[in-house]
Amino acid sequence: MLNIHDILETITMIEDEKLDIRTITMGISLLDCTDEDIQVSCRRVYDKVCKKAENLLKVGEDIEKEYGIPIINKRISVTPIAILKAAAKGDCVEYAKTMDKIADTVGVNFIGGYSALVQKGFTKGDLDLIASIPQALAQTKKVCSSVNIGSTRAGINLDAVKLMGQAILKTAELTAQEQCIGSAKLVVFCNAPDDNPFMAGAFHGIGEGEAVIHVGVSGPGVVRSAVEKAGDCSISELAEIIKKTAFKITRMGQLVASEASKRLGVPFGIVDLSLAPTPAVGDSVAHILEAMGLEKCGAHGTTAALAILNDAVKKGGVMASSRVGGLSGAFIPVTEDAGMIDAARCGALSIEKLEAMTAVCSVGLDMIIVPGDTTAEVLAAIIADEAAIGMINGKTTAVRLIPAIGKKVGEELFFGDLLGEGPVMKLNTNSPAKLIARGGQIPAPLHSLKN
């Protein structure tokens, strides 16, 4: 018989501490959907994805009921569309519209893969796709776009960085009437993982199989509660507690992933061991850091606390799952985290501190609202800085900034749902225009002499 305390612990985690499966994401290859005629290609994409994912929603809901564990999102990621566009003639936005239609038909809330991988150069398809991003995101609701502009092995494509600075600004301008929401669906990566289940950066890497199931777990509330219960213990003990908690959370993710994979007849890919916050009270990564002993997230000591948290989550999670991947680690999206929103509002958290934090945790400068009059060059330079951290440290970094068109520091944007809300944060506005205008390729770093 199961232990009554274990059972109650699981139920408390789900009921009171908001433990959930953040996403089941089905990755689908579109490499067999190319055609010179973009309409033909779009039809193939539509037919294939709708067929493969027809049961995704139902299976997700069945598992949710049977195991009593909430599965918040069901999503789809596809092969980077720039690869299909390389063969097709016509307006790339057609692909985005097709993806949006698929999301409606299948019933998923986001579909990712309006993407290009340009870390070392552009194909014609890449350039077409990047140029079409603002329109694609303005004309669709559920499509997510990402562009990988750098990697540890290839260096950073500074021309792409410049283009992405412009794309972010243009996307915000085109969606200014809707709280600039377009930019919240656009991520710029360095070292993008092929198997990330989380939006907006999910795409189905070209090294992946025909179709695959990835699962992203969550549970900041569970970790916070465990840290709070631990009281005044030493930091080593705290790391142990986080590790054990992460283990339990991930085991649940592994169970759901293997069950979903079995029921859908699609191979299991990875479990992403992330602590993904939501704006709901009690589901915040910032609050874990505060429970670890900081007055406010953003205080000196935040980077150290986050490093411990991120490492302990990975150590606990790795043993709990047969295959781990994606972005695994603690996420710090400002507008999606109640504690981060508070810290940004009261001025405790600055973009400079966030940048330092990204050096030790998963992902990067995520969901940060910047002033509407920020230039494309400053946006590009933020991307370049963040990509440099990723490139040098051999980790994934990303930038998802939302220029709040017509708004200044201190004013706010409200996206609602999981995307949250937050204040416009202050940026350093000294011009990096000359550096960005140079273009070219930042050389790949040395892999020895690590200092």
């Binding site: 199961l2 274990d6 049977e66 009593g68 169970l255």
Partner: protein, 89 residues
């Protein structure tokens, strides 16, 4: 397939009868029952075999949840694997 039914709330006469009657109605065979009072809260855990369940698992879970509502009890029905996977290596 086995499921775990947990009942949490204020103790009173007839909880076990009420829950087991609902189980019998849909052919959920009770294999084991444990109950205790933790910090003044009544907790009952029931392991049931649902191999021959007469209705969909989802609606069984909903029925049980409803059953507890008017007595102020939280009743959860969950597949046993979730507990096994989280608490056993």
């Amino acid at each position: 397939m086995r499921a775990v039914i947990t009942v949490i709330g204020q103790d009173r006469v007839g909880i076990l009868a009420r829950v087991s009657q609902a189980c019998a109605k849909v052919d959920a065979n009770i294999l084991d029952v444990t109950q205790s009072v933790l910090q003044d809260i009544f907790v009952m855990v029931m392991l049931v075999d649902i191999q021959n369940l007469k209705e969909e698992f989802g609606s069984f879970a909903d029925t049980m949840k409803e059953l507890g509502k008017d007595w102020g009890l939280a009743i959860h029905v969950m597949h046993e694997d979730i507990f096994n996977s989280m608490h056993r290596i």
